[in-house]
């Protein structure tokens, strides 16, 4: 109440008392709301009882599924009769890994607990860390079901489809802003997210990308083409050389870009017959480019020209340009010879016998989840191998399941390497890393760091209704954070060093100070809502590092926080939160 209320004149008293009444009413209502909110949120800090308040969440978010009958959707249902149970494939993949380790006489790391598994899979699939709310629910389900139910939970979450779509968008169109007006990257990424969420078979997704026509807003897949509009020469045509290089890297997992200018002389690119490969030729590249020579972009969108447009190139050593007709770089026996060049190409790319197509996306999905591809670099898979046996088992399964992406993600995330510790009692060498006998340690990428920081100061899950990246964008901080942190662009699976700028940003930057100081999602709230110092410490550890403090850590931090109260405790909570976010453990997926 304002002081002037207390000194109001008698003739104002009637209206004043009404006003007082209404003010008091509002105050009481406000207090009630706050109390209810505080009690609700504080509940997460207590040990969770699944039988009462969060049973709906427990059921809907973490669906029960028995270990030998993992749920899968659309694509698998279509092919259900031809596909073996997923558990069988996971077992075969595991057996293949174990055989590799045995043959190479490699020791294998122990398995991690459910929280470590939840953290690494959340970072790999959704680009963030588990919330305290999620951890409480997870711990309420039977121990032997936790990993699998966590995976199902992630696959149902919009965060996952958005995060995975961004990874694939990088592979398909890169990160550049691209040509003005005719290219809409965010439409493209959202369209991909929708395909992933609905689990549209991957071959169909790629067919859309390769063959769709129309405008960049109404047919978002055509942004795959409009990104490559040649602004330098003729603004109506896409650049066939860009499309050839992109198609090969994105859908076949092969880098043939060097063939644009010359034949392969280093033995790096093999084409032709996978069983009897030959060195790549400059004509191989341009024969692929020729499939795109008739594709143009106008205000009506991406279209094919009515008349064939010959692809003319001056090959190295030639004095004049010559027409290069469309031809496929390998497995030409799968060429259906359709009249529309792009349809012909799409049919060949997605042909079930074109194994590089399946191999490419599985290798990429593996890299997304593990931070390290089965074959590196992620888009440079040799046509003739050698291929890791687990990869080939997954390729068989993927093709048999009619390109069910969610199923292959389940296999990738459920097989044994995903549960192995990144630490070991033995010396970890390159063979251990290459064969995934330990979980690969990977520095978090900028969007993972941003996602993890935002989630780490909140008790509740920041998900589709308030998606982390959207929220960050809303506050204008995500772009700045990722830009300052250094966006790795398309090469996001290449391990990079940490920079001084990154350290400064994490120690002193706005994003962290916003999380530490007073605010909706702030560590100050944790301090205020925690019943005691021990619970506060546990909460900070769980929200930031997704684990409980060790006995030693407990003793160390309790010594400085136990005796504190009020503001002092808040400050100490802020200090511990800052320490954990700046720790190496936070900055790595491990």
């Amino acid at each position: 109440m304002q002081p002037q209320d207390a000194i109001s004149s008698p003739n104002q008293s009637a209206s004043a008392s009404r006003s007082k009444l209404s003010t008091w009413g509002r105050n009481v209502f406000f207090c009630a709301l706050c109390t209810t909110g505080a009690v609700a949120v504080a509940g997460f800090l207590m040990d969770y009882d699944p039988g009462t308040r969060f049973s709906t969440l427990a059921k809907s978010s973490l669906p029960t599924a028995s270990s030998d009958n993992v749920k899968s959707v659309t694509a698998t249902e279509n092919a259900a009769s031809k596909v073996s149970p997923i558990k069988l494939t996971i077992d075969r993949v595991d057996a293949a890994f174990e055989e590799t380790w045995r043959d190479a006489d490699l020791k294998v790391a122990d398995e991690v607990d459910h929280l470590a598994y939840a953290r690494r899979m959340s970072l790999g699939l959704a680009g963030t860390v588990p919330s305290l709310e999620e951890i409480r629910v997870l711990e309420s389900v039977p121990a032997n079901q936790r990993n699998q139910r966590w995976l199902e939970h992630l696959l149902e979450d919009d965060r996952t489809s958005l995060f995975l779509a961004e990874r694939l968008t990088r592979a398909f169109v890169g990160v550049d802003s691209g040509p003005f007006l005719v290219y809409r990257r965010s439409r493209f990424a959202n369209w991909l997210a929708k395909q992933l969420k609905q689990n549209v078979p991957y071959d169909q997704v790629v067919r859309h990308l390769l063959t769709d026509t129309g405008t960049w807003t109404q047919s978002p897949a055509v942004n795959f083409y409009s990104k490559a509009v040649d602004q330098n020469e003729d603004k109506n045509l896409v650049a066939p050389v860009l499309m050839a290089g992109r198609t090969s890297r994105a859908f076949l997992g092969m880098r043939i870009d060097c063939l644009q200018c010359h034949d392969d002389f280093l033995g790096n690119v093999n084409l032709g017959d996978p069983d009897d490969p030959s060195g790549g030729l400059q004509t191989d590249f341009h024969s692929l480019a020729a499939f795109f020579s008739g594709t143009g972009v106008s205000l009506g969108g991406v279209q094919d020209s009515q008349e064939p447009v010959p692809w003319q190139v001056q090959l190295l050593g030639d004095s004049d340009e010559s027409d290069v007709p469309p031809a496929l770089p390998f497995l030409r026996n799968l060429d259906g010879g359709e009249s529309n060049a792009r349809v012909r190409l799409a049919n060949w790319v997605t042909h079930p016998k074109n194994r590089p197509f399946a191999r490419s996306i599985i290798n990429r999905m593996w890299a997304i989840v593990y931070g390290r591809a089965l074959i590196e670099p992620v888009d440079d898979i040799p046509l003739a191998g050698p291929f890791p046996k687990p990869l080939e088992i997954m390729v068989d399964d993927f093709i048999a399941s009619q390109y069910d992406l969610q199923r292959v993600i389940r296999i990738i995330a459920s097989c044994k390497p995903g549960r192995l510790n990144s630490r070991a009692s033995f010396e970890i060498t390159h063979p251990h890393a290459q064969s995934f006998a330990v979980f690969p340690m990977r520095r978090l990428r900028p969007d993972q760091v941003a996602g993890a920081i935002v989630q780490s100061s909140s008790l509740t899950t920041i998900n589709s209704e308030s998606h982390i990246l959207d929220r960050l964008m809303k506050f204008g901080s995500k772009r700045e954070f990722v830009e300052r942190f250094g966006d790795p662009g398309e090469e996001e699976f290449v391990q990079r060093g940490e920079t001084v700028t990154q350290k400064l940003l994490l120690m002193n930057g706005d994003m962290l100070s916003d999380r530490i100081n007073e605010g909706i999602h702030s560590v100050v709230h944790l301090a205020a809502l925690s019943p005691d110092a021990e619970k506060l410490l546990e909460t900070i550890f769980l929200t930031v590092l997704s684990r409980r403090p060790t006995t030693e850590e407990q003793a160390h931090f309790m010594s400085s926080i136990d005796a504190t109260t009020g503001d002092q405790r808040k400050e100490r909570a802020q200090d511990i939160y800052w320490t954990l976010v700046n720790s190496m453990e936070f900055s790595w997926n491990h």
């Binding site: 550049d176 802003s177 691209g178 040509p179 602004q231 330098n232 290089g245 992109r246 890297r249 880098r255 870009d257 280093l266 670099p377 440079d380 990144s422 630490r423 070991a424 033995f426 010396e427 970890i428 060498t429 390159h430 251990h432 890393a433 340690m441 300052r484 250094g486 662009g489 398309e490 090469e491 290449v494 391990q495 990079r496 060093g497 940490e498 920079t499 001084v500 700028t501 990154q502 350290k503 400064l504 940003l505 120690m507 002193n508 930057g509 530490i516 030693e552 850590e553 160390h556 400050e571 802020q574 200090d575 511990i576 800052w578 320490t579 954990l580 700046n582 720790s583 190496m584 453990e585």
Partner: protein, 437 residues
């Protein structure tokens, strides 16, 4: 000053510099000593050791800046002025720069194959065209990578800085993120993220706890050979050192007397040019300062004129101040954008993209001022994109890179191993010797 030898770095010099690394704790004394070692005593002169890039993002019109053709059709009414270098004219509005022209040379018939901003910025900053399998380093990153001498160990602040970063600030590419330019903004504002969030006593406690956590994390991974050299706190130490360093003052121009600041112009770009000088003086190798807004597809003359008003006092004062501080001979200055603009005016009074004959200005670092390399025809045929028909003495953009690297004593044709296993030349161009002879 003479700078006759293109190969400034001989083994002896490097050994001398290496010997000084032990003195690194003496910073900034060690910086001065190390930099002193870089003088080319044998040739009786100084040699360039730093680079300032004035980056005109959006692409300035050569016809209104460094390559005017007054009175011709392609000038479309824009005028030119005389300079203090006989026979050299500049676009109207560059009056102050004209007074420094005897220290500046122009390369007028530059060519590239990129007419799209994104691709062209990449091309001009790195000397390479975009390659889907590899990110090339910017020239500043190459210089910092190649000139790894005692100086690198004595400076607390980053050696590569981008002030007012634009769309694509200079980056380390395949050399690593540590060679990215450190990005800062208007030098009147504080540098981002270098102040601790809490007072010293709490910061001390935080850092002690952090050290404890990290040591525990490292101990658990000591047996991981894959992480050798990748998992340490080197950058934390460097960040803390920077936060406590007096050299941070070099970013700040707010305490510089107005008599020094005023001539640069009361603009963020002008202030940034002054900060660039301070940074070079503090031991920074490469500074990039961006002035955007040159993409004048509409109303070219007026919009270019507005940019020129900002550029002119800043560029001229930069040269003047570098001379005054005896830094011009040891600092190369380059001013230019990603391409030029069409010789004809479009329907909206604008000029479009033109990579087929554009200009940059170079000064300092032994560049003989008052020279013009290359010539563009005042009557190019519309639609003609064959440079040989209307350019004389043309140079591809990578030759500018070779020129700079060569003068800094870097073997520009040396091959570096890239992460994709392919050895790649530092630069594919050839030096433009006429700038120096």
């Amino acid at each position: 000053m003479h700078c006759n030898s293109p190969q400034h770095y001989n083994r002896r010099t490097i050994l001398k510099a290496a010997g000084l690394s032990a003195l690194s704790w003496l910073s900034p004394v060690a910086t001065t000593l190390a930099r002193a070692q870089e003088t080319d005593k044998q040739n009786g002169g100084k040699r360039p050791k730093s680079l300032i890039v004035l980056w005109m993002e959006g692409a300035p019109s050569q016809l209104e800046t460094f390559d005017p053709h007054p009175g011709s059709d392609i000038a479309a009414g824009s005028k030119a002025i005389k300079t203090n270098a006989p026979g050299i004219m500049l676009g109207e509005g560059l009056e102050q720069t004209a007074t420094q022209m005897d220290s500046i040379s122009l390369i007028r018939a530059l060519t590239s194959k990129e007419g799209d901003h994104e691709r062209a910025i990449y091309n001009v900053k790195t000397g390479y065209r975009m390659d889907p399998t590899l990110v090339h380093p910017s020239i500043g990153s190459i210089i910092c990578h190649q000139l790894t001498d005692a100086v690198g160990n004595t400076i607390d602040i980053p050696r590569h800085v981008s002030i007012l970063p634009g769309q694509q600030p200079a980056r380390g590419g395949y050399l690593g993120d540590n060679y990215d330019a450190f990005k800062v903004f208007d030098p009147l504002k504080s540098i981002p993220d270098v102040k601790a969030l809490v007072k010293q006593s709490r910061q001390k406690q935080r850092l002690a706890d952090l050290k404890r956590m990290d040591n525990q994390f490292l101990a658990g991974r000591a047996n991981n050979q894959i992480l050798k050299g990748k998992l340490d706190n080197h950058n934390l130490d460097a960040a803390l050192k920077m936060m406590a360093s007096d050299q941070l003052a070099a970013f700040d121009v707010s305490k510089v007397p107005m008599s020094v600041r005023d001539p640069f112009g009361d603009t963020p770009f002008g202030r940034s040019c002054l900060a660039a000088i301070q940074l070079i003086q503090a031991g920074v190798r490469c500074v990039e300062v961006t002035l955007g807004g040159w993409d004048t597809h509409v109303n070219n003359h007026e919009l270019q004129g507005n940019r020129i008003k900002i550029l002119d006092p800043a560029f001229a004062s930069l040269i003047r101040e570098l001379k005054k501080r005896d830094l011009l001979d040891t600092t190369m200055v380059v001013c230019g954008g990603e391409f030029g603009r069409t010789p004809w005016i479009n329907g909206l009074g604008g000029r479009d993209h033109w990579p087929h004959g554009f200009s940059i200005a170079m000064a300092g670092g032994c560049v003989q001022g008052g020279r013009v390399i290359g010539e563009t025809s005042p009557t190019p045929t519309e639609g003609s994109k064959t440079p040989s028909k209307f350019l004389k003495d043309a140079n591809p953009i990578e030759n500018v890179h070779a020129t700079i690297l060569n003068r800094l004593g870097i073997d520009y044709s040396k091959e570096l191993q890239t992460p994709i296993g392919r050895p790649l030349k530092i630069c594919e161009g050839e030096p433009i010797d006429k700038l120096f002879s």
